[in-house]
């Protein structure tokens, strides 16, 4: 079904087929970008729109070798990375990495779940965990999406989840101390 829609867009530039593809795939892409932009919905949806625009323009380069959604994730991740590069230093801090702003310990008190804690990871660590655990991409697919070696994917996943674990432990000890 999806392959036929892709074919229609590639062959006839069919807007309706692309709209259907968007309906099918918008949720994971928007969820992913919202998490990457630390729930900044406006920026995330703008990036999602740019992702789909770019996908439409370059759809002929998609050869059906992997999942269409993985191909969209690749564009979405590239959009996110280039948008953070373009931002000023101030915006970068806001979007990129809140782990190093010195207020980490204070925020930890209120944040208990992995969803909250994931905000403190670096953007590539966040992306890799989301792609693997939230969107079920394989290591190989993540390597293609993020354009990094397979070995790095495995290392990053392990490192990120260990980081999350240590954040949670710090969080727990903070809460115990307060009591």
């Amino acid at each position: 079904m999806e392959a036929k829609l892709v074919e229609r867009v590639q062959r006839d530039n069919d807007h309706h087929a692309f709209e259907q593809l968007m309906r099918q795939n918008q949720s994971p892409i928007r969820q992913f970008l919202r998490r990457l932009t630390l729930q900044n919905q406006a920026i995330a949806d703008e990036l999602a729109q740019e992702t789909f625009l770019k996908a439409f323009v370059h759809i002929k380069t998609y050869r059906g070798e992997g999942k269409f959604l993985s191909w969209l994730f690749k564009i979405a991740y590239q959009q996110f990375v280039s948008s953070t590069r373009k931002k000023t230093e101030q915006t970068n801090v806001e979007l990129e990495d809140k782990a190093d702003d010195g207020q980490f310990e204070h925020r930890l008190v209120a944040e208990k779940t992995a969803k909250d804690l994931i905000k403190h990871l670096k953007s590539d660590e966040r992306a890799i965990l989301l792609l693997h655990f939230s969107h079920d991409l394989t290591h190989q697919e993540i390597a293609i999406v993020m354009q990094i070696p397979l070995g790095t994917v495995k290392t990053l996943i392990r490192r990120s989840r260990l980081k999350l674990k240590s954040f949670a432990e710090e969080n727990r000890s903070e809460n115990t101390d307060e009591k």
Binding site: V57, A114, L164
Partner: protein, 111 residues
């Protein structure tokens, strides 16, 4: 709550989000696609009009002269004379008309 960050299933469950869907999103992307296509078409037509214009300026006066007075008339052309001016004016008119024609094709989606 079990916080086991080394448990794949637990992480999958914890990191999953609610389904997002709204038709406005896909509708606005399609609108943008249509707008982009229109813009790129416009650029194409502008380039086409400019090319026709340049060709017209370069060749139409000479061609008209050839058709009206025969091939030998080209060698008789002076640098500036009244007939030459008229021909150049006609060339410019052709540019203008071709530009309007192409623009109207684009505007009324005739192509």
């Amino acid at each position: 709550m079990k916080n086991d960050f080394l448990d794949d299933d637990w992480l999958k469950e914890t990191l999953s989000d609610d389904y997002i869907h709204d038709d406005d999103f896909s509708f606005s992307v399609v609108k943008k696609i249509q707008l982009n296509e229109r813009k790129s078409k416009r650029n194409f037509y502008t380039i086409l009009a400019v090319m026709i214009g340049v060709i017209s300026v370069l060749f139409i006066p000479d061609l008209l002269m050839v058709f009206s007075q025969g091939p030998t008339s080209l060698s008789l052309l002076g640098p500036v004379n009244e007939q030459n001016m008229q021909m150049e004016f006609m060339g410019l008119s052709v540019i203008f008309l071709s530009f309007i024609l192409i623009w109207s094709f684009e505007d009324f989606d005739l192509i």
